[in-house]
Symmetry: C2
């Protein structure tokens, strides 16, 4: 048995099911080993950002790790942006990067680069396997690292000779690190704080979509505290039957308005709220001066334990009443193109238990409010702000949940960063409807340019903010990747296209031609 | 005057002419400052790898730096692979990366990342501007760094507040570092070595395309030494009138065969030859055991001086005879699709002084031999082996040389990594013909899998090496980006399509449907 075979068998013993791959020469022995194990599903992505983004989406929907297989430092570089977003989402992910054989690294070959140094700028855990007998153990440790702390980025660098040389055999899985718990006295103090006027409970992570959500909501109801979610959630349950979370905002003033009356922020599995960007003369933090921030339990700690003890301290039980959102579908709209109509149509047609991947940026204000009372669904945001998260994340979500409909909402500028993911949707026949809002530019930057005081826009700025001249043709781009597509120029054609896309098996793309 | 304005004016004083940009919110003041200076040409790229690859191509064709403007750590990550290739090409490049305002970095905002650490894994020079009054001086230093050592990667990280706060004004350009020269005695010794039996002069960099090429060729002729170029050249002059360089090879055995009789390798502006990849039981270096390697002058040193002194020692003058390649165009081929015919057609039709950007990988063996005696042209290779270099490099070459025809040769797998560059070709109406060899897969990896001993290929391997099911439709992909396209299914339709593409203004794409 060679090192590659020992690693693949170790990964399988550890429960790994999917590998999003973009391999090269230095990974050929690993590819050969994977070939002997079709029970590990290999999904080809035509660009590495597609692989890392898919693994992020897979973790968000399963709570377990997928692997990515990348080729040397440039491959890891191409995967960097969606690793950034995965890190900010709190997703666990095992990145395997093929490296030159150890003895080859003393020479300056074209593809030589410092993979470990690159990985350490983004991953929580990075290790270079020294030889074939170590690879299986390193694989088990990498999986444990990726599953520790509620999800981490772990990179295993695999020199080619460690894959091809003789190994001893696979290794059994190792446990993840135990989750850290807050001291009991701090939880008791937080239970007291939550009852104070102006208290708010800020939650994030699995609390936004899993069984901990109702528990947090009951705690908030019992104490009178507000229950607040971040502006960007890795995954949040919405629609009929969901817990009602308040949401922080993007704009500095809007964000401050949400929390202006908060005097005590209790953070459980959530980060301290921070504005997205800084602007001249504006604060970085949204909270009012003097607000007490109680960082009770970080996202990497034992959130379930913390909420459980909080509930116990407060006498909260499953019998406590729970408010949840009612179903309230808007009428099916009609008429000329307008984004409110698109939002209503989406809300009306979104199927039960859909997964919405949202990179719609400036369009989201038309899409999130009407869907709040749609059929129950999960909503995934670009947690890291890095562009190009949407299509790859949808691939991972669809692989994770083959029985659920995935809908991607994306701006045209955003979709262009990782459009190659469309091909993987076609190859794997994923149940994904991609809705591209073709507003012909980086509309958010027009607003941001105004924010910094530039009101008269000249040639250079126009040509850096507008994606026009030529306009992208998303129907052709989609069909070129093998995904059937249609174009909506009014609300009626959008309704017809969305109905048809949801009815058919496999992927579909709808280009929504937006008002400028 | 704010920091951004002081920086833009400093860059203009330093002679910067082009900025390949993909900006975001943190760069809006810089965009505002660029807007006031239309004499600095801003070229929008819809993905950051397009920007860094274009700057590489620009340097290869002008010998001077362009800037890229990227957005935070994920933007730099997206640009990493083509920075890797630029570094291996020896290209100089100024990367400006917008960063959060300094005071914002103490908080965990979504886009926060360690830009400087990421840059240091690839760039020669990295600096974070501390405040607005320092930005102009930092810009001048960054330009000098990018122009030093015959071209380096310099990254200037620009926190948003250093752009928006009050500055003092622009700074005058600073000189590049003086080039290091070998000791005279070592050059004299090398002149002696070159006369020995089994001597070879290995050159790279500008020697392959500029005035130093004939000088090196005369030195080789005078001494009887062989004149050898690397397998991958950042830019090499070929065709009628060009110097004849021997070329190293990709395969381990082929590479060893080229240099098997070499006893003395004299390196002038060239790296020691190294095999591309390592394989079990095969050597990393191509040279025969016992070969003496004389590393006379590295690529970052004073190559012109070194060759000049060598010539002087040897009594070589411009009056010495010089062999150059004759013009010998193949007949225009006809008939069903075959790659030799495509290569002959390319050789027949390639216009005078064309620029060929080659990422054709396994197809190159059909394209390079017949074009050796075509009309004079420059040929650009993917020096770093990172996929996705071709289309972006062509953008930069076309911006650098608006009067020359650019032809990109690319595999379909390779072109998919950075296909967004097609849009920039359309936006800027660049004279680029992109020829995509649609062989429906990573053909090189099929060979590499066989190289590592896997002969029976199963489902996982097939699905990781084949880009099929669905096939990509390059005509639609191209038209979707705004670039007119056609499909060649036999040699005649290729000839017709290439003729038409070369005749028309602006970009064009030809999909060559290859035999499997």
């Amino acid at each position: 048995m060679n090192g590659a075979q020992s690693l693949v068998q170790t990964l399988l013993r550890g429960g790994l099911k999917v590998c999003f791959a973009n391999p090269g020469t230095s990974e050929m022995h690993f590819v050969g080993a994977l070939d002997a194990h079709p029970e590990l599903r290999c999904v080809l992505c035509l660009f590495e950002g597609g692989a890392t983004g898919a693994a992020d989406g897979y973790y968000r929907m399963t709570g377990d790790i997928a692997a990515t297989l990348l080729h040397l430092a440039p491959g890891l570089g191409n995967g960097f942006a969606n690793l950034h977003t995965a890190r900010k989402a709190g997703s666990g992910l095992l990145t395997i990067v093929g490296e030159h054989a150890t003895h080859h690294l003393v020479h300056e070959s074209p593809l030589k680069g410092d993979i470990a140094a690159l990985s350490r700028t983004i991953a929580h855990w990075t290790h270079v396997s020294p030889d074939a007998t170590a690879v299986a153990g390193d694989g088990a440790r990498a999986m444990a690292a990726a599953r520790s702390c509620n999800g981490q980025l772990a990179t295993l660098v695999l020199p080619a000779n460690t894959a091809w040389q003789e190994a001893q055999g696979p290794t059994d899985p190792l446990p993840a690190l135990p989750l850290i718990r807050p001291e009991l006295a701090r939880i008791e103090a937080a239970a007291h704080t939550l009852r104070l006027p102006g208290a708010a409970l800020l939650v994030d992570g699995p609390t936004l979509h899993g069984a901990l959500g109702p528990l947090a909501a009951r705690i908030a109801k019992k104490t009178g505290a507000r229950l607040i979610a971040p502006y960007l959630a890795s995954r949040i349950r919405r629609g009929a039957g969901a817990v009602a979370f308040e949401r922080l905002a993007y704009g500095v003033d809007d964000n401050a308005a949400v929390v202006k009356d908060v005097r005590h922020m209790v953070l459980v599995g959530a980060q301290r709220p921070t504005n997205f960007f800084a602007y001249p003369g504006k604060p970085s933090l949204p909270e009012a001066p003097g607000t007490a921030v109680h960082d009770l339990c970080s996202r990497s700690m034992d959130v379930a334990y913390t909420l459980g003890v909080l509930a116990e301290c407060l006498g909260v039980t499953e019998d406590d009443p729970l408010d949840s959102l009612p179903l309230a579908l808007p009428e099916l709209p009609t008429g000329p193109m307008n984004l409110s109509g698109i939002g209503q149509a989406l809300a009306h047609l979104l199927p039960e238990n859909a997964i919405v991947v949202d990179e719609s940026i400036t369009m989201a204000r038309f899409l999130m409010p009407p869907t709040q009372h749609a059929r129950a669904h999960d909503w995934l945001h670009t947690t890291g702000g890095a562009i190009g998260f949407g299509l790859p994340n949808a691939v991972g979500a669809a692989i994770a949940c083959p029985d659920r409909q995935v809908v991607v909402l994306t701006g045209d500028g955003s979709a262009m960063y990782t459009l190659q993911a469309l091909w993987t949707m076609a190859r794997e026949q994923l149940q994904v409807v991609t809705i591209v809002f073709a507003n012909r530019g980086y509309q958010i930057l027009r607003g941001e340019l105004a924010n910094v005081g530039v009101t008269e826009v000249g040639r250079n700025a126009v040509r850096m903010l507008d994606v026009d001249g030529p306009a992208l043709d998303w129907v052709k781009l989609s069909e070129g990747h093998g995904v059937p597509a249609s174009r909506a120029t009014d609300v009626d054609s959008f309704v017809a296209a969305l109905r048809a896309a949801l009815d058919q098996a496999g992927p579909h793309l709808i280009e929504v031609v937006c008002p400028a």
